[in-house]
Amino acid sequence: RYDRFMHCFDHVSNRIDEIYKALARNQSAQAFLGPENPEEPYLDGVNYNCVAPGKRFRPMDNLSGGEKTVAALALLFAIHSYQPAPFFVLDEIDAALDNTNIGKVAAYIREQAEINFQCIVISLKEEFYNRSDALIGIYPEQGDCIISNVLTLDLTEYTDPYVHEEEDSP
């Protein structure tokens, strides 16, 4: 039990800092996981702390809405690296993100989708979904109750507007 727990914990805590740096596109970002009780970690809690780019260490509840979303995605992707599900389904995860962070998160998902996992997102923001390979458009039809109809558009047939995108300079 101790071994399995530590094996998982070590894997995720080694990966989380590098994933957070990649999501924030900034080497000064830091993320770390630390057990409250290092001898028997499964008996107590596990702390999670993120230092946003350009800021100092402070408690997690001091983060703003957008900063919490980025911290959450780093943890989500770090856990996935230990136990890789074949795909993600993410429903409006961009709601609290400003356009800069939308660009960073979408670029990260775009990179990972090539090599690591399939990603299905639901989004209202063009800045987010214009980086995908395919759009699944849902449009409502009136009836006694709403009827959902579906259109699919393969974006890979069009030239990619971001193909010349330079790596964001952190």
């Binding site: 999670y48 409006e92 759009l135 409502p140």
Partner: protein, 159 residues
């Protein structure tokens, strides 16, 4: 591997049979408020074994098209997920059917028990119980804001 298609049949706001896809490496579901985007995520979550309370309904039968306004379009509804293996390119069809107050499971058209169904899903890396690949609307921030004990419990479930 990856998810190729989803087929819904009278599931929530999707009337009759509809084949949705193909899903690419990075696909985006878009559309106006109330059009049925989250219902499509509910369909994917349902076919992978997600429990009713996370599908925004109280009973399985509320998932049938028209049920919330008292006019269910049919007595059954179903969702199928067509999954393609990365190496062998072999397709597997996972199907979950609502009939009455319980649900039946099929793999490639053949009825199986829910244990066998979940075992097959685990083989491809889909562990709905630890749910580390589904993020429902409005819940992303809470992943980072769990307290220390909840986080330990999360690690216990995954390891």
């Amino acid at each position: 591997g990856h998810l190729k298609y989803i087929e819904v049949d009278n599931f929530k706001s999707y009337r009759g049979k509809q084949k949705i896809g193909p899903f690419k490496k990075f696909s985006a579901i878009i559309g106006p408020n109330g059009s049925g985007k989250s219902n499509l995520m509910d369909a994917i979550s349902f076919v992978l074994g997600e429990k009713t309370s996370n599908l925004r309904v109280k009973r399985l039968s509320d998932l049938i098209h028209g049920a919330p306004i008292g006019q269910p379009a049919a007595s059954r509804a179903s969702v199928s997920a067509i999954y393609t293996d990365a190496e062998t390119k072999k397709e597997t069809v996972f199907t979950r059917i609502i009939s009455g107050s319980s649900s039946d499971h099929k793999i490639n058209g053949k009825g199986v028990s829910s244990q066998d169904y979940n075992a097959e899903l685990e083989k491809i890396g889909v562990l709905v119980k630890s749910k580390n690949f589904l993020v429902f609307q409005g819940t992303v921030e809470s992943i980072a804001m769990k307290n220390a004990k909840e986080r330990t419990a999360m690690f216990e479930e995954i390891s």
